[in-house]
């Protein structure tokens, strides 16, 4: 059946700047904010905006993401007509299959899926941002401007502008130039990586781009510049609100900490724009006799008997009596045993910090950073993981 607008979510990125956290899962499947995974934000935004057809383009380590998305039931995207669909690269008959060469090529390879719904517009999303946004408002802007492409932008400081793709616009917010990470930005409108295209136009440019052998088949590098050069109507849609790219260890840690500040992040208690997640099905959290938990988020299935400050704890975490956790993110199933200290650190799923061990340290020194313990990795009793370290193999108890 025809749909006015469908969404295509680019979820194939390797997320290599998250290092150990994405060694076994795709970036959009990385846990976030106590209860969620990154992909919950764009998926919930879609369903809250009335978009009921979403293609999720996967490529890199897709198993966990596939089983997480499943049939889309947690997001109300289990539909007879539309719904959420995982789209891996595939082989057409008589041809040689290829991996997605770039973001634009990923969409090109799935034109057949898009055309099943004969949409007027296609919304392109990525799976590495934390924000709440009504795409219906953005689509209304796109239609009002009669644009070929609308790019959602965020006003950043001029200093930050050097780190983003910057849109230079006229007095009507029509884009006349796009600059990737300019040294001397002319505007402070940063692209959020969210695009709406009039499908007939995008289709044309995807075909042309695919035919160009020198192209890297990327939206930012190829499609947007080509459309600008051809004089297509491109408009900026200004977004006001919280938006954070969580593509690096530091930004992922920051974005989790933002949830602790009053009004510092997206409002997760707002029932008018809920963020849905696949439920873990765990009992309530238990606070032991000696628990001291302040300024922190704690999730079901956890058992806390130690001290927890300024931290985000996911489900089924254990913090034993005499253990201390500060300014840290403990992903599902992480364990901190008695007498251990975890500060300014990220413990991935089922990581364990044994008795008396130390992970991370408060800011200071030349080579300081967030310490990371990868999924399933154990820090043996009494061992130390220094700041900024990325522990990907067990640290065994030292022999005496």
């Amino acid at each position: 059946m025809k749909k006015e607008c469908i969404a295509m979510l680019l979820a194939g990125g390797q997320g290599s700047r998250l290092y150990a956290l994405t060694s076994h899962i795709a970036k959009p499947a990385v846990p976030f904010g106590g209860k969620y995974r990154i992909i919950d934000f764009p998926l919930s935004n879609c369903v809250n905006s009335g978009i009921d057809t979403v293609g999720v383009l996967t490529q890199y380590r897709p198993m966990e993401l596939n089983s997480y998305v499943g049939n889309g039931q947690p997001w109300d995207l289990d539909r007879l007509d539309g719904g959420v669909h995982i789209l891996p690269p595939y082989v057409s008959s008589g041809e040689k299959g290829t991996w997605y060469k770039g973001t634009a090529n990923a969409i090109y390879q799935n034109m057949g899926f898009i055309e099943l719904y004969d949409p007027d517009y296609v919304l392109i999303l990525s799976g590495d941002h934390i924000y709440k946004m009504n795409y219906a408002d953005m689509l209304a802007h796109h239609k009002k401007e009669e644009a070929a492409c609308t790019i959602s932008v965020l006003e950043v400081t001029m200093e930050e502008a050097t780190r983003f793709g910057i849109m230079n616009v006229d007095e009507n917010d029509t884009i006349y130039e796009f600059e990737e990470k300019p040294a001397h930005p002319k505007s402070n409108l940063a692209s959020m990586g969210i695009y709406i295209f009039t499908w007939s136009k995008l289709r044309e440019y995807l075909m042309a781009d695919e035919a160009d052998e020198g192209s890297s088949n990327d939206f930012g590098k190829n499609i947007i510049p080509a459309m600008l050069a051809a004089g297509e109507k491109m408009t900026a849609y200004r977004f006001h609100g919280y938006w954070k790219d969580v593509g690096t260890i530091d930004s992922l840690w920051d974005a989790n900490m933002d949830l602790l500040a009053p009004n510092g992040s997206v409002n997760l208690h707002d029932t008018d724009w809920p963020i849905y997640a696949r439920p873990a099905g765990v009992p309530p959290q238990f606070m032991g006799e000696s628990a001291r938990v302040t300024h922190s988020l704690v999730t079901g299935g956890s058992s806390i008997s130690g001290t927890v400050e300024n931290s985000v704890l996911f489900h089924s975490v254990t913090v034993e009596e005499g253990a201390t956790v500060r300014y840290s993110i403990l992903m599902p199933g992480a364990v901190v045993k008695a007498g251990a200290t975890v500060e300014y650190a990220i413990l991935a799923e089922h990581a364990a910090v044994e008795e008396g061990a130390r992970v991370g340290a408060p800011p200071g020194g030349d080579n300081w950073g967030i310490a990371v313990v990868a999924a399933g990795v154990t820090v043996g009793p009494g061992r130390t993981v220094p700041p900024k370290a990325m522990l990907t193999e067990d640290l065994k108890k030292e022999e005496k």
């Binding site: 606070m287 000696s290 704690v298």
Partner: protein
């Protein structure tokens, strides 16, 4: 395991639960921070691979229907089978609630005829237990008994006058039952039974034509010598709540790690309706100890020895101890609550003091503002 069909009885509203059953059926009484009583037996059945479950309801079942919905939170929203809600459909001549399980079953006899499995498990929807139903079924098949009755040697602590006790004879079979005696005698029966569909059908027919409405009186007592009724002795935690005080005590049992380990075995999860709550936030001055806290709460005051359901807010300076606060309730700044059961959406404004006692916890009805 597709050979077992589940029937859950959810037709009673226990009047001794007073405020807690005013707006709802006993089976939909909230329990344990995020559950309703029905979740336990419903999950036990699903965990044993049961795909078809009939839920027999009679009165004030709106809250129960709202909770179970299509059954999708238990993976029971199925094209074929799944969860079926069974209101009375051949019971027009009677007023008041069903007088017993057999009367309830006979009023849904056309549903029973269409059961596609060979065996049926019958259970009350208000038992708080994590029962390995697969083991009970295996016991039933191995023992060759006509009926298996789940019993416990460990008292559930419920009032004997609300309880059924079984006497086990030398041959290991149940020889007699005491229904609602003054004193406990023998082992306590959890009123969970497995039998073949054909036996169930004939029992229902026989009892309907003889005016027998109660399963325990008609079958456990009346047929103990004609049928082979085998006890399955369950050793884990099991509880029922027949009064407000018992509800409070059973809630507080959950603060015991051994009880939680029994009830919340990760291999046999208790499922419930998902509400998409965020994690619970503990403020800079929060102090929560010895408590079970569900997701979606905002805790800025002190909480001790309490059970907090989803979305509860405890404001700064508030002190909550020995309380059960249900979904969405709110305790204002500097208010003090002890031995209080606050039903859903109870709002206690600032600077209030509410005290109950361990022998008489103060139950505040749903939506009350104080």
């Amino acid at each position: 395991m597709n050979d077992l069909h589940g029937i859950l009885f959810a037709y009673r509203s226990n009047p001794h639960l007073r405020e807690l059953t005013q707006p709802r059926n006993t089976c939909s009484v909230p329990f344990g921070g995020r559950y309703r009583l029905i979740d336990f037996m419903l999950s036990n059945m699903v965990n044993a691979g049961i795909t078809d479950i009939g839920l027999i309801v009679h009165e004030s079942y709106q809250s129960l229907l709202d909770h179970v919905g299509s059954g999708k939170d238990w993976d029971l929203s199925r094209k074929h089978g799944g969860l079926r809600i069974l209101p009375p459909f051949s019971f027009a001549e009677q007023n008041g609630e069903y007088r017993g399980a057999l009367e309830a079953l006979s009023s849904v006899s056309s549903y029973l005829q269409n059961i596609r499995q060979e065996y049926v498990i019958l259970a009350g929807g208000d038992v708080i237990v994590n029962l390995p139903v697969s083991d009970v079924f295996q016991h039933h098949l191995d023992s060759g008994a006509d009926i298996t009755a789940v019993c416990t040697s460990r008292s559930t602590g419920s009032d004997p006058r609300e309880t059924i006790y079984c006497t086990v004879g030398a041959n290991g079979l149940i020889t007699d039952a005491a229904v609602h005696p003054n004193q406990p005698e023998g082992c306590e029966c959890l009123q969970i039974y497995i039998m073949s569909k054909s036996l169930l059908m004939s029992l229902v027919e026989h009892c309907a034509s003889h005016g027998v409405t109660s399963f325990s009186r008609g079958v456990l007592q009346g047929m103990a010598h004609t049928l082979r009724i085998s006890p399955y002795l369950f050793q884990g935690y099991a509880a029922r709540t027949h009064s407000v005080r018992q509800y409070f005590e059973k809630s507080m049992d959950l603060l015991d790690p051994a009880v939680r380990a029994d009830l919340f075995d990760p291999r046999l999860p208790i499922r419930t309706k998902d509400q998409s709550n965020p994690s619970t936030y503990y403020g800079p001055d929060a102090a929560a100890v010895d408590s079970l806290v569900a997701d979606g709460c905002i805790i800025e005051g002190e909480v001790d020895h309490s059970i907090l359901f989803r979305g509860v807010r405890v404001a700064k300076g508030a002190k909550v101890s020995h309380c059960v606060l249900m979904q969405g309730s709110y305790v204002g700044e500097n208010s003090t609550l002890s031995y209080v059961i606050g039903d859903k959406n109870v709002r206690v404004r600032s600077n209030r003091t509410l005290m109950g006692h361990s022998t008489y916890p103060l139950a505040i009805p749903k939506n009350t503002e104080i």
